[in-house]
Symmetry: C2
Subunit: 140 residues, 2 copies
DNA sequence: CTTGCACCTCTAGTCGCTAGAGGATGTAGG
DNA sequence: CCTACATCCTCTAGCGACTAGAGGTGCAAG
């Protein structure tokens, strides 16, 4: 039952101090009790919640999605269909992003390979950017 | 020498009208001449510049990087080493992003596959987020 | 001449934080 | 007990790259 300060909570959860306060402000984390001197005092459950949030953020889930996931976590009797849907949507998004980035990689490689370190008027980087028709791929 | 309105410039360049004004505001695009009635009047060169900007943005270049690329384009006597460096940095960034996203994809796939559409207390999505140790990869 | 769309400027909002000011509290050493 | 210093508090403003909306003007077709 020892009190966990915000700094300690930050160290244990890996979430920065101002970010913890920010999460409280937007209602992702409920306001903890306060010490005599008005300092936040966290409990182990809050640390778990912060780890959950951090992990979800690292996986690219938006704050709104995390809010939904957290309400699901709080009530384990619900169907997990929502959580499943959120994860699936995120997966589709990630797959799309990977495809775009792969195409982009090809294009950048061609740009860099084409650049002979001469003057700008022979530079493929500039040329490709100026004229979309030069693109290796026209995915965008 | 017909005047190109901002709407027409938008259609031809693929850059939205408010975004064109925004680019003017941040100095990416110089302020065009105005009509009698104070309406912006663009020239073909402006459209090219907008296409250049749009293309670079789609490739993920930041506005600051584009600013540099544009000054290079304006003065073709310079060495293209800067443009080359910008493109190379971007390539490295893209490769890193692809690696992260691939690892993330694996993790999301495991989550979604593990979800039996039952109740939340058996849901792998929630479980994995709550306990980092469950991760397929610990890259983050 | 009116209708209605496109244009104008300006401000404020988006997202997920991050930085800094200016002050209070808590703790360790002397 | 005093001082020094880290940590905490609240509040506001800033980031990047736009986007949305209010409130008003210009212009072209019917």
């Amino acid at each position: 039952m020892k009190k966990i300060t915000i700094g300690e909570a930050s160290r244990q959860s890996g979430v920065k101090v101002p970010t913890i306060r920010y999460y409280e402000g937007i209602g992702l984390l409920s306001a903890p009790s306060r010490s005599e001197g008005n300092q936040r005092s966290y409990e182990p459950a809050d640390i778990s919640r912060l780890v959950f949030i951090r992990h979800a953020r690292e996986l690219g889930f938006e704050v709104d999605a995390i809010r939904t996931l957290l309400t699901l976590q709080d009530d384990p009797n619900q169907s997990c269909a929502s959580a499943d849907a959120i994860a699936k949507a995120r997966l589709i998004d990630v797959e799309q992003r990977i495809r775009s980035l792969m195409a982009l990689k090809v294009e950048l490689e061609a740009m860099v390979a084409g650049c002979g370190h001469g003057r700008v008027d022979q530079c493929r980087v500039i040329e490709v950017l100026a004229d979309h028709g030069q693109c290796a791929h026209s995915y965008h």
